[in-house]
Amino acid sequence: MTPILSIQQLDVSYCGTRILNDVTLALHTGKILGVVGESGSGKSTLLQAVIGLLGDHGRIDHGKLEFDGIDLIRIKKKDMRRLRGKRLGMVFQHPGASMNPIRKIGVQFLEALHAHGDFDKKEVRTRILNMLSELRLTDGERILNSYPFELSGGMNQRVAIALAMVLHPELLLADEPTSALDVTVQAQVVRQLMDLRDHFGTAMMMVTHNMGVISYMVDQIAVMYAGRVVEYGNKLDVMKHPQHPYTKALIAAIPQLHGRKMVGIPGQPPVFGEPYAGCPFAARCTSARAACRQELKLVPNDYGNGHWTLCPYGCD
């Protein structure tokens, strides 16, 4: 089966500084891919590259980026706009921030729909209300007549998800969609995203630094560090048998109620644009060898079942 989204050896830079290095990922219809990593690992840049919103200073230097066979790098601006919202949706971190604060939510739904063609007035109304009720927002009429600031954070984020999903895009990109929410609301939103996936077969690419969210909802995990994917695989393979020391350290840093102590990762990730020799994680890695800091070649090491890592030594 061909993936709905295929990223191959993607290099992206901002103002000449390399942010993403050799990123290779694939996402299939109906699957959820979790992209984890610390702040500044290039996760958000990756999403922006996919949806074509890198801005004036961002540039794709090299690689392939394909959505359902469409080359997203060479696509015309006009055609990219038509894809956004219709076939590619995006949800942002801050609830409500993606909506204009001084326009009613209903108007913003209409605006999003009318950007992609003319719809029958009645049909539009039902469509919006249906999507809101998919997210358990039952008093849709009241919500459509409200302004974003009148709703709670959790409700706003669900409205934002409905807004991104109203045209049933095949791929939903989510940039830390739960990080700004209360823990109880987080669980709700995560559950509803999974329901949407089950209902519409939407593929989702979910950027987060919350390992709890990852272990609960995703199918595949990509661990990012310093602009590279350092480990990729099915959720269980990566969570149970992490092969990269960074992944291992991330999992050890998950707070737990019982059992082992939570362990932080000392040090800072390398600064973008500053050159390093060998493995970018070597400076913080507890099992780094001399070779790691010199001419280590960063090539995927296969562990079977699609599970690979950039670390040649493994952890088992």
Binding site: I51, L53, R81, R82, L83, R84, G85, K86, G89, M90, F92, H94, A97, S98, M99, N100, P101, I102, R103, K104, E111, A112, A115, H116, Y147, F149, E150, A160, L163, A164
Partner: protein, 313 residues
Amino acid sequence: MIWRYAVKRVLQLIPILFGITLLSYALMQSASADTVDMMMQKRGMLITPENQAVMRHEMGLDQPFILQYFQWLGKIFTGDMGYSYLKNMDVFPLFMKALPSTLLLTLSSMVVTVCISVPLGILSAVRQNKITDYVIRFFSFIGNALPGFFVALLLLLVFALWLGWLPVTGNHGFVSILLPTFTLAIAMSAKYTRQVRATVLEELNKDYVMGCLARGVKGRTILLANVLKNSMLTIVTLLALSIGSLLGGTAIVESIFMWPGVGSLAVDAIGNRDYAIIQVYVIWMAVIYVGINLITDLIYHFLDPRIRMQGEG
């Protein structure tokens, strides 16, 4: 709702206006020369101290300050705003004759300013750091740097003297308003183009713009229905302040073009210490500013639901 808010605001204005009139009246009183002195000076003759005392008594100038103030205030409400010894007529009709000219000039220069600065400001912001932006910024910089009287003289020189298209001064119908209008509009447009640019740039960087882009909303819709609407909140405030100062009469421009507005009236009155006119002018300015402030707040209520809801809650 909005009407209750409006009424509340209007009621709040009463003590403010009261305070302003009291203060301005007190300041006039503290001036060294009074009306009798000024009349004497103007007519160029000496009046015996006895006669001066009689005149002061007739005019009520020998009464305590606070009594004079309330008498004056009472008369204002009946439309009797005093007598201008300078023009030898009542102040109120004098003022009413000057007002339409000022209103007209305010309106025309505001319209021209908005028509120039809003499109240029948006264009400059959208084409940030491109050649269009640089050209617009260059001219707005020049417009900002040129003083109004210089622009006025420049325009007079080119359009009235060299080209002979427009009259030099006075009010000869529509053509006469062009030069004072553009003199005012050039300086204001230069200022507002920069303001609009800065405001639009700030709005363009907000998250909702990214949200709209991610939903595939067209660039033009984002600009006109979202960014411009949000930018209006800031721009309206700035425009209101300018309208205020324009309605007060633009002394320099009105004087240069002999435009018969309240600005030149006030300048004449101040030069000759014609207290009656100055008093009315001060009241007029106060009324304009509090009035414009009120209107701005009400417009805000229409534009920004966040403020509207706060008021209700």
